[in-house]
Point group: D2
Chain length 274, copies 4
């Protein structure tokens, strides 16, 4: 979605998804952190307001997930339950419903958000366009606010938007790879065509890549591995938060045109001999 | 220069050039702004502490340069006189001396800094390695703190360092082109080998590219056109300042390794059936 | 598909699609040529053996399509009817059937090939994953040899393969854009996973990009605009043919590993003083 | 050098260096081959006419260099002695003189060619711009036909041309790294400005990268590691030869313009309903 940039950021440049307003355009996750404490610090220093949670991992009290629900202050952080580990639409719908219960347990009675992941392949972790669309249609019908994770396919994004999804979440590169925006050209087309917010998810490895997504006009980014697996996760979280603000500010400020040739900062015309 | 990153940024992560300490790792310029007022706002919002000034343009009171000296608060901003417009070593040495006088006029008695530009070619504005080295040797002998603008050539950088330059300033892409870090691989080699600070100069078009330079280990960046020619220069200046902080923080935080393959944020091992 | 490369190319390294054997791994088209004569020369010099034809354009005797059927020697060139201009599955199925008739008219009684294009959007000309899969299933049922044109989505490619398609044809970048392989990372994943031939279609602008696709392990490429719109189409056709052979040969020859660092061609160990 | 492309390649599109005419625009090397036999086959299948030889390695009868002089048919292959292993101008000049003797021993009485390498750094193997220029001036004075190996610096290239060098040989990426044309933007500027042939040397890993250099307007490429270290060197040599021809043909044929947007191969205007 290429919004009409606000005259002034001071007038408010919030992101609205499913009727809910967010100041921060950075979403983070809960996986892969060395400890709960590091996760807590990282979430805090990122200044994010939405954190995704793998419903199945929490249900299973999988490694690194014990105490997760208690570790986050759900009065400040909006929960984005995700369907990680689901290989088909049916499973994803079932896990999304469990996610709704999880959000209620966290005190978010009105939270209908779900990050929809339908990932048949355990190696490359790429989403299934057909299963994702099918699950999205079902979940929208059930009243969910659906944020589907997709390959950067502009036509698939359009189908999901038409099906009533609240955003589209194209991937930059495979989950956890830190390869950055391999699909930048397609993401640009998605942004150009979408009338829902576009959230770049997966593949971002460093703050510059997060900033790049925002500069292109993406509405937000979701970053997990790049923070959790940094040498200093909390510092990296802060850097990601800064970069997202920088990228959004730059998008609204309007970049200089790229030029084929150089152009002097200090033109030489009008020079007198020194 | 790949520094041993400080344990904590709070302990101080200042940039030291020629014995002088800078908090900000963003340098800006004075060319191409739509007005003096916009330049003033931009410098302020960028939070930079060093601004480069084209000595010949000021001497000539060229278009956009009337009142420049008075427009900047030289008690807060360190002047970096530059030799833009000089096509050979001799001219550059002469203009560097004038720059020293200019700094004195601004009340900076001890300012010996000069951004050395020897640019024979008015079209691509690329620096001459031979003339630059020659002028650098002369200026170091005369007691200048020399910051030479160079093509991203690791061996030339070494020669300049050996000649006593205070930094090296490799270009990302041609001046004013906004093409970003076309020479990233060479810049990385310069950073790896240098024992003086490396300042990426020219070609940066958006904050993400500034952040990228810092993430790679560059010590600072100089940005002029990307700010001055943005639709909203002052907002872009702020974004550049944020991105430089984000990039430096990320460099110190240590990025996750790039991976050939995906890696689940929420591993599927240990899942129970939902 | 990453084949076990043949011990020797001399033993035959033909491409087999739908049971039919092709020596050349370059497919070309019939659109956008300045004249029929130039098209004829270009097809000849490319040494291609399969040419795609826009069925609707031929039916409509659209500009540049009068005499097209007679201009090509269908005893040597295999016709690949395409469904360009179809915006949904239903239309595409209908046009595919017309294509079969067209091939019969050209004397290719047993030609069941169809290049399936379902493109709702007239601007970016990107394929619809849902409509394409739906049409592919129908056409496979009707006995067609289906070569679907798709966005570079590895999971969609898998669905189409499972549906019985004879190849998958991921796009490098938008049709006619000449931007090259923007989606290279995804194309690599498709190649890794596919057990049908992978044909890179659309976006190739120069021979090096065609060679790159083959080097990555793609089985063939389809090139139209880059030939037809070159200043000298016939010469460019020849260059494309050469590049495809070079790329395939290189793939089978096995490239040297990429290295982070330099490695001397002429090691300096063992040197005596000169 | 951007030549006025010949009307027809059939009229002759030879490369002329130092007054000598070459049909092939691929130069190869003699280092790193698994055996003399493989080297011989590779040179033959590459169809190259100029092969570079490390003078110091031959003098020292270093590993892999015994019998080298006898292994190549110097009545067909032009020797390009190189100064690999020289760390300063003085050494390089001395070794160049030895190279001249070596060429005489091979029966090439009039061979004054030298590939000038001045490489102080044994790790990244990057050339020294200052030492290279100094040695080049000396060698030109002594009547050598000098082909200097340089970092892709347009201004340095100009200095070397002015000094009387017969070509400039900018590197794509570090020797043996197979990273391709990291410096493409700078190489393009060198080509645009040069009036001597531009030979891209070092870093080429696959045929597509060789083709890319020629498509950009480079006059030739030198490839060693990518052939010698391929799994099947002789097949890779053939592929390189093909790709160089393809790239040159494409350069002369004139590529289609890159477009921001798609452009239908089969325009939909004028369609009748099917």
């Amino acid at each position: 979605m290429v919004p009409n940039p606000p005259i002034s950021l001071a007038q408010g440049d919030d992101l609205i998804i499913g009727g809910r307003r967010f100041h921060s355009r950075l979403f983070t996750g809960t996986g892969k952190y060395p400890s709960m404490e590091v996760m807590q610090q990282s979430i805090k220093r990122s200044a994010c307001e939405m954190v995704t949670v793998a419903v199945r991992r929490v249900q299973a009290v999988a490694a690194g997930h014990a105490g997760l629900m208690e570790a986050i202050d759900w009065t400040r952080i909006w929960m984005l339950p995700n369907t990680a580990g689901c290989t088909n639409a049916e499973e994803a719908v079932r896990v999304a419903r469990l996610g709704r219960e999880l959000a209620k347990l966290a005190g978010q009675e009105d939270n209908t958000f779900v990050k929809l992941e339908v990932i048949p392949d355990g190696r490359h972790l790429l989403p299934d366009p057909i299963g994702t669309l099918q699950a999205a249609e079902q979940l929208v019908n059930e009243g969910f606010t659906v944020l589907p994770y997709i390959n950067a396919d502009p036509l698939l994004a359009k189908h999901l938007e038409d099906a009533g999804c609240a955003t589209v979440m194209p991937l930059g590169s495979p989950i956890g790879s830190g390869q950055g925006l391999n699909n930048a050209a397609n993401i640009a087309l998605i942004i150009e065509n979408a009338s829902v917010p576009v959230v770049v998810d997966a593949g971002i490895g460093v703050p510059s890549e997060a900033a790049q997504a925002l500069e292109m006009g993406a509405d937000a980014v979701l970053v997990n591995s790049a923070i959790a697996l940094a040498r200093n996760p909390a510092a990296m979280a802060e850097a990601m938060g800064q970069a997202v603000i920088a990228g959004r500010t730059a998008f609204c400020a309007g970049r200089l045109p790229r030029r084929e040739e150089a152009s002097a900062s200090s033109p030489t015309t009008g020079l007198v001999s020194s």
